[in-house]
């Protein structure tokens, strides 16, 4: 026998790898609300099995930790048990030899610290606070809790109009979300355990393209209450839509010329065609919402006066101000903010970038929007300069991929230093290369200056896309402001002030359209309650029962984009829709967690108005 071999052990390794990959997929799509004690015990058991067994803290300590966690689970633990768990975990972390031993104990320690209430509930009542008995993962993860398995089933049955009707019960922006939602619903789609998440957004896009013209649902009887919504973006319009359906008289006041907020003045039309945005807004307004545009609180009227004229006011002004880099040369001609560029385009003013060299600073979705917009405006070269690593970019992977395909360059690990000017005009962007280092408080690897010379990027235009700020000043006298944001509860209530509510990006800081929608929806419910009503929003769509089927692996159908050469020179929608055949197949991939498992019981459609 030769001393070195290929063979069995390598083959076993492959089997183990496949086993762990299955496990990885399972963990990635794990259900929500699992008992944290049970989960910690499960992880600990896995980790313990994988340790080598040499050292005492890990070999014996983990065994003891398991026993202690079991005691918590079976209700025989006391407060003292919890202390022992903490102390033992710490001891294992400090005294064991290698990383494997530390990991398991760290998991347990984090679990008991982060879920202290749960552990104590187990000690007191032998049960858990949080439970996995909510709706399907997709619905739970959707901030607006849209009935996703429901509308996918309707698409499957060839009922796109009912699908859209069902979505509108929880989200009046099915079209917007079909184009631009970040689809947090797909993150923990249970289908991921088997192969890949269902293309939920793609199916929604199919539904809104096939739903035809629809009439707005009837409004409840007039309540005689006058409600104002300040800011006509996704958050404000959502609140307005539901408040109108509840029978209140609603007026939306908008600072700009048109409604839509960041969907019009932030998101480029190649991602969300304007005629589609108008179709959406027209539907919402057809419920009978009044609109006043080109109207600014603080300029046209004081907020205090405005408040007196309404029974309830909702502030949803978003985050429209730009953040500055604070570097030399920032006020030169040719330096602009992302907000400035995209807002102008929203009103139809397209600058000409033909032959120009563009540097975009930042790494979020807005930065990528500026990159791809610049390409379409005729730029000769577009460089996106980002301070952290490529892996840390917060823009959607697909945006990065498409931007690169359209010819942009993304330069990672370069921090802004100054903008070189000539005759008051931008000439170059100077950056300092970075080295990635330890993790910062936000949990991301932090860059610091590398010991190398500065780098120069030729630039006629520098677009600064490093986040947006909130204009709080018109409301400051009445509404509390904290960390440059309006201060309100998640349901829109502002403590100590009657009749004024706030939500969306002006409260949370820059976020996503679906989060803004969720905030508007929550606010509508609490404002209705404040006005002395308890209207429920419902829909008369019957959800089809699932078809009995096996769960066989089947690839996910992704949405294609138009060819690079064609799409990069116009502002038309880049995405292609699913065909009937594709939608039919993709919709069958839904596991119907609303019906199977706990879905068939209480949890299936628990979220109601």
């Amino acid at each position: 026998m030769s001393r070195l071999q290929l063979g069995n052990s390598a083959m076993n390794q492959a089997a183990e790898d496949r086993f762990l990959q299955d496990l990885e997929r399972y963990v990635a799509s794990a259900p929500v609300g699992t008992c944290p004690v049970d989960l910690a015990l499960g992880c600990l058991t896995l980790c313990h099995a994988q340790t080598c067994g040499k050292c005492v803290p890990c070999r014996v300590g983990h065994a003891q930790l398991k026993q202690l966690l079991k005691a918590v689970l079976d209700g025989s633990a006391t407060e003292e048990t919890l202390e022992t768990i903490e102390n033992l975990s710490k001891n294992i972390i400090y005294s064991t030899d290698c990383l494997l031993g530390t990991t398991a104990a760290t998991l347990v320690l984090k679990s008991i610290r982060n879920f202290r209430d749960d552990y104590e509930e187990h000690v007191r009542n032998g049960s858990c606070i949080g439970t996995a008995h909510g709706p399907a993962s997709c619905t739970s993860f959707c901030p607006a809790h849209v009935d996703i398995p429901g509308y996918i089933a309707l698409v499957r049955e060839g009922r796109p109009q009912d699908a859209v009707k069902l979505i509108r019960k929880d989200n009046p922006f099915p079209i917007a979300c079909a184009y631009i939602c970040e689809h947090p619903c797909e993150a923990r789609c249970r289908r991921g355990i088997l192969d890949e998440a269902v293309n939920i957004r793609g199916l929604k896009l199919y539904a809104v393209e096939h739903c035809g013209k629809m009439d707005a649902p009837p409004c409840a009887e007039d309540t005689g209450k006058r409600v104002a919504v300040i800011g006509g973006g996704p958050c404000g319009l959502t609140a307005a839509y539901y408040l109108r359906l509840m029978g209140h008289e609603v007026t939306v006041y908008e600072q700009r010329h048109k409604l839509g907020g960041m969907m019009r003045y932030g998101i480029p039309s190649y991602r969300f065609p304007r005629e589609e945005l108008d179709r959406e807004i027209d539907f919402i307004l057809s419920t009978g919402i009044n609109v006043v545009t080109d109207f600014s609180i603080g300029k046209d009227i004081s907020f205090e006066q405005f408040k007196r004229e309404h029974d309830a006011v909702y502030i949803s002004v978003g985050a429209h101000a730009d953040n500055k880099l604070g570097i030399e040369g920032e006020d030169a001609e040719g330096v602009m903010s992302a907000v400035e560029l995209l807002r102008g385009i929203g009103d139809g003013n397209l600058p000409d970038f033909t032959g120009k060299r563009i540097v975009v600073v930042g790494g979020g979705n807005v930065a990528l929007d500026c990159v791809r917009t610049s390409i379409r405006l005729g730029a000769e070269k577009v460089t996106c300069v980002y301070r952290r690593r490529m892996a840390d970019i917060t823009a959607l992977p697909k945006e990065i991929e498409s931007g690169l395909a359209e010819g942009a360059e993304i330069v990672e690990l370069h921090a802004p230093v100054r903008i070189e000017t000539e005759d008051g005009k931008a000439k170059a962007f100077i950056a300092q290369p970075q080295i990635i280092g330890e993790y910062d408080r936000s949990g991301r690897a932090a860059p610091r200056n590398a010991d190398v010379p500065e780098v120069r990027f030729d630039a006629d235009i520098v677009i600064v896309a490093i986040g947006q700020a909130i204009v709080c000043s018109p409301f400051e006298k009445t509404v509390p402001v904290e960390r440059r944001r309006l201060s309100a509860a998640p349901d829109g209530k502002i403590s100590g002030i009657d009749g004024v509510f706030a939500g969306g990006e002006c409260v949370t800081g820059p976020a996503t359209v679906i989060r803004a929608i969720a905030a508007g929806k929550a606010a509508a419910a609490s404002m209705d309650k404040y006005l002395g009503f308890n209207h429920k929003i419902s829909v008369d769509v019957e959800i089809p029962l699932p078809h009995a089927k096996d769960r066989r692996k089947c690839g996910r159908i992704n949405i294609a984009e138009r060819g690079v050469d064609e799409r990069k020179s116009d502002f038309k929608c880049v995405e292609c829709f699913m065909s009937d055949e594709e939608a039919a197949q993709e919709s069958t991939r839904c596991m119907r967690c609303d019906h199977y498992g706990f879905g068939s019981f209480r949890g299936g459609r628990r979220f109601e108005w």
Binding site: T34, N125, S127, H133, H547, A548, H595, R602
Partner: protein
Amino acid sequence: MVNLTINGKAVSVEEGTTILDAAKMIGINIPTLCYFKDLNEIGACRVCVVELEGKDKLASSCNTVCEEGMVVKTNSPRVRTARRTNMQLILSQHDGHCPNCIRNGTCKLQKLAAAMSITDQPFFDQIPSAPWNKEAPLIRNESKCIKCMRCVQVCDKIQGIGIWDIVSTGGQTKIVASGSRDITDINCTYCGQCITHCPTGALSARDDTIRVMRALADPEITTIVQIAPAVRAAWGEEFGLDREKATVNRMAAALRRVGFDYIFDTNFAADMTIMEEGSEFIERFTHKENYKWPMFTSCCPGWVRFLKSEYPEFTDNLSTAKSPQQMFGAIAKSYFAEKTGKDPHKLFNISIMPCSSKKSECDLPTMKDACGDNDVDVVLTTRELNRILRSENISPADLEEEPLDSPLGTGTGAAVIFGATGGVMDAALRTAYYLVTGDKPDADAFRSVRGMDGWKEAVFSIPGAGDVRVAVVSGLANTAKVLNAIKSGKAEYDFVEVMACPGGCAGGGGQPIEDGSEKAEVRGNELWRLDKGMSVRYSHENPDVCKIYEEYFEKPLGHKSHKLLHTDHSAWEMPKPLQNL
């Protein structure tokens, strides 16, 4: 229509039919355990699984809908193995001490295990346990619970209260009383619908038979038993007696064998209730401005508990008349004690009720009006009555009928219908009409309030008083709908009858259990049949009722009535629902 074959037999069913129902249509029975039609179709036990040709996974037939061309096998080797294994798994976590289980003989799990000849157990015993307050009227035994979730469903969907929570996940999943609290600290109405829908002995009403047997054995004590209307329509079921044979007089014969000293009828007190509540209604109706509207019946303790916890703002709308059970108790320890010269402290009042909530009603601090002791000492459910008869080796079928005792043993047709939804309203209107007009209405004039609809409405014209708008509701989820409609002004009534259990006391939480079947309607029909056959069908014509007013109470709503027959519903506290805490 959808065409499929089941075990080789072709069948054509309407779209949306489950495999379970389709199979039943062609005489193929698929065993079920957690399933309860229209209530719990969640496929949790996986006992009803079937094989679908071309599919690897077995499907739960209770909630899988038939599809065109399906080929179903209900007894394939794979199905048999899965069904058996799942039963063994359920049994591995179930305390199988059947001989001393309260549901021995009526347990669905026991029957199914026997039918499937499950005599071997390859798995480890993992019997769970959890503490419970044994003093509570509602008892839960974790070691018997098979997590079928029916209790949760019935409380959520039918009663709309949701006192059962599911907590924890995975192997730790369990059912607890809302917020993991003691059952007596929460807003449970003790209606007992979870008990009658439980397939096993996990839920039961507190057994008080031993207290009764102890009283019977005490020579110092005189035992008085009262029999609620709805009991007579149900008690014979467990003995295989048909309804014609399971009469109250045969029950009286059986109770006499057990040794009770006086066998009386709650029907007597039901007639008294109509005298008091009917007069109260007329007083309120003719002085509308002095009262809150509508007036609600108050004879159902589950309903009173529900109102006090969820809709306390309506407390003053409740009739102040006590329930028949409590009127009876107060009369027995006052009028009857005086008349017979007995020391009321030595009287022991037992009531046999179709109800588990009555066990809490008799222990209310406000129900000690006659002599300071509890007016009613012990409440037995119909099931407990049957348990006593069985343990005394009494075979009711072999007994001749015997009369009840006098004077508290007579009742009219108006009283016997108290046990069916609409009955109290019907009876009250018969007498109210007479009290206002001096004329007797036709006894069936108010029949539109009868029947199993959960929310019934009618308007009756009483000459001299005007139009009386009434509603009759049963089931607490329905009740919430009615109350919300009243609150929002969408509905306006003068008089509303509410029964916590669907169909009224006939479907009460203390009635015999036959798994999977709802018996409220057939029992209710029996009560209406009894009413029809009675020679006296008006409470005010009950001769003993007339006599007691002559001899003792003088008149309805009089001074003595106020002390003994009426109560203050606001004089005791009811726990609030979790969301209001």
